[in-house]
């Protein structure tokens, strides 16, 4: 073998090695470019805006450091929005989980025939198929003071007057949370159903031999087996619900007064109604931080599972 051939062989080997090393990055490149353009740049801009005085409106915005954050954190309306967001998100996630587990277990039972099970799966999943706009219109009609819900309540003697579900300060937050629960439980139901079907039947057979009842089975077998799915669902649902905007905006607009004002409606009003883009960006950054913390937990949990 001549030295030329040896060099050619080495060079081939090197280029092969280089190709092997760079190939995965090339595959990732289109996605990375898209992510940078559509995600990293806007997020960077929003974070940057939060450190200036009123951007966009002013041609030469001035760097103000953390002044916007200070102003926001001393704004009473912001804290009302935070409180409402916590109630809305907390109520939704907890109810989604309880309803999701209940419905999934009902649909997983052997006492219902396969055809009936399939039919109920479709019916129970329906709310998830509607867009926020459809859900808002549908529930606005149902909850109208002259609507079907009030008609039922009055007919069944459960209420003597027509309730203003979306227009009353006492009821509005409860109403929008209920709508959101209705719209979002199928995700839990379907995921948990899949989880239930993955639990080995031997576990239940062994516990039956040990004399365990249904309640013990649920708490000592079903729930622990579903734990990984439930944690993932809770974290994802938290992030999705905290961003809910369309539903609130189209039903109550954050009102009456500020009864249903949540962070997303608060941000929208600051940006598109008050034209305070810097303050809107500041609020968005706070929301981003909250979601990022939850996302870190989610990723850690996923890694832990692996």
């Amino acid at each position: 073998m001549t030295s030329q051939n040896v060099n050619r062989g080495r060079s081939k080997k090197r280029s092969g090695y280089l190709k092997k090393k760079t190939e995965p990055y090339l595959y990732q490149l289109p996605t990375v470019i898209l992510m940078v353009v559509l995600l990293v740049v806007p997020i960077y801009m929003v974070i940057q805006y939060s450190f200036f005085d009123n951007v966009i409106i002013n041609d030469n915005p001035v760097f103000v450091g953390f002044q916007n954050f200070q102003e926001l954190l001393t704004n009473e309306s912001f804290w009302v929005a935070v409180k409402n967001t916590l109630i809305f998100v907390g109520g939704s996630v907890i109810a989604h989980m309880i309803i999701g587990i209940t419905f999934a277990m009902v649909l997983n039972t052997k006492y219902i025939g396969p055809k009936l099970q399939a039919m109920f799966r479709v019916i129970f999943s329906l709310p998830w198929m509607f867009t926020a706009a459809v859900i808002a219109v549908l529930w606005k009609m149902l909850l109208n003071p002259n609507g079907f819900i009030n008609f039922l309540l009055v007919e069944l003697n459960l209420s003597s007057t027509n309730l203003e579900w979306l227009a009353s300060r006492d009821l509005a937050l409860f109403s929008v949370t209920m709508i959101n629960i209705w719209a979002g439980y199928p995700l839990f139901m379907i995921s948990i159903l899949a989880g239930l079907q993955g639990i080995q039947s031997q576990l239940y057979e062994s516990s039956a031999i040990d004399g365990a009842n249904h309640i013990k089975n649920f708490f000592y077998i079903t729930l622990p087996q579903l734990k990984p799915i439930l944690i993932s669902l809770i974290l994802l649902d938290f992030v999705w619900t905290i961003q809910q905007f369309a539903l609130i905006w189209m039903t109550t607009g954050g009102g009456p007064i500020d009864a249903t004002e949540i962070l997303s409606t608060f941000i929208y009003k600051q940006g598109f109604s008050e034209y305070q883009y810097a303050m809107a960006s500041t609020s968005a950054v706070i929301l981003l931080v909250i979601c990022t913390i939850v996302a870190i937990f989610y990723v850690r949990h996923q890694r832990g599972q692996e």
Binding site: L34, V37, N144, T252, G253, G254, G255, P256, S273, Y275
Partner: protein
Amino acid sequence: MKINNFYNKGILNILLIVLAVITLSGCMGSGGDSESISETATNNDNESNGEGDNDEVTLEFQQWWGVELPDGVLREIVDGFTEETGINVELLSNPYADTKTQIAAGAAASTMADVVGLDGAWVYDFAKQGSIANLSTLMDDSGYDQSQLSDQIQVDGNTFMIPVANFAYPMYVNMDILEEAGIEDIPETRSEFTEVANTVYSETGKAGWAIPLSTESPSGIQNNFMSWLWASGGSMLDNGQPNLTDNSDLIDTVEFMKGLFDAGVVAPGAYAMKEADMVEEFTNGRVAFMIDSLAHLNTIQEGAPDMNFDFVPVPVQEGFSGESGMDVANWGIGVAENSEHKEEAWQLVEYMMSPEVNAELAVYANAFPGNADADPDYSDADDLFLKAYELYQDSNPVNEFTGLPTSEELMRTFAEQLQLYIEGDTGEASEMLSETQSIWEEAFE
């Protein structure tokens, strides 16, 4: 092995092509946005028109009018412009609320369509942002005769919006409900109105009055609340500045409104109600009186063909004998500052404001023309429309929110303070107005 190499190279090539496309489209997006978009749109239009001149200009015209006009009317009107000038127009038609959001987003990102439909309530903010063009300059440059315009919306002495079509807000009354309640006389004063509303409620169980106070779309304050103030010659401004504190006309109006709520004669769900919901309540025969845009006349007639309803002037304060003001909203038009075809954009504005086109648009929209020389042919118009036209002519058209800073936010904060007063959280009307004044003043700083 060879197949494997070919396979790898194939994927690599595809990747490179994808990257090239992304990079190119990125470049197209970042440079001269509207030009490239316009050219693309022009090419599309040319293909459809069977023409092939790449120098043609295509203007984007973003508005909500196309949705509210009968199908195809706006397209037909702008096609006339294309025939006349050779300039193509791409219509971006969305409902009012979407249009507002999209224009605001376009203003923030400097990607606003060349010509935009505007509401007077948005003008101040867009003008201050520098996102809409100074029409005074464009008018001067083209030697346009401004005397034919019935109104111009100005900020700091410069025109930024021209009202194309004006919509009056008369009071609608369901005569069937009045008959059912045994009422023969139409109320002319506020106390008469309260009495009639009470009778309607006690005799029929239906609401005497409806007001939409949703904070999502707070225009109820402008159209349904301030209408009462303006009808009695009152004003919420003094020299263009908020004049709410100790404004006796406003105090009376706020107290009158609370009186209606306290008496339980207002349609339930007002705080979550939007204008469309109010129209639905009226159309379904559940409300005796409402103040609404004449633009909804057809909707109501189609929804309730058998309903006997009429237009009446808004009742006034006791003892008032001056000229009543009638709330007027308009479809305004403006040009984007970022437009690369301002001259052509102005040509489109000029075309829409020409007496013939303006008159045609007014007839189709159930509106009154923005050009004082326009002579709309209302001969085929409904009798009710003509009656409303008479009421409009006898009144002083007014809309004090037009051209104010963050107008919509002013309405929203007023709505919130009004709700707090109606709910009893604020003790006195004067206290409520004083609180609103202090919030409003921040926007005027």
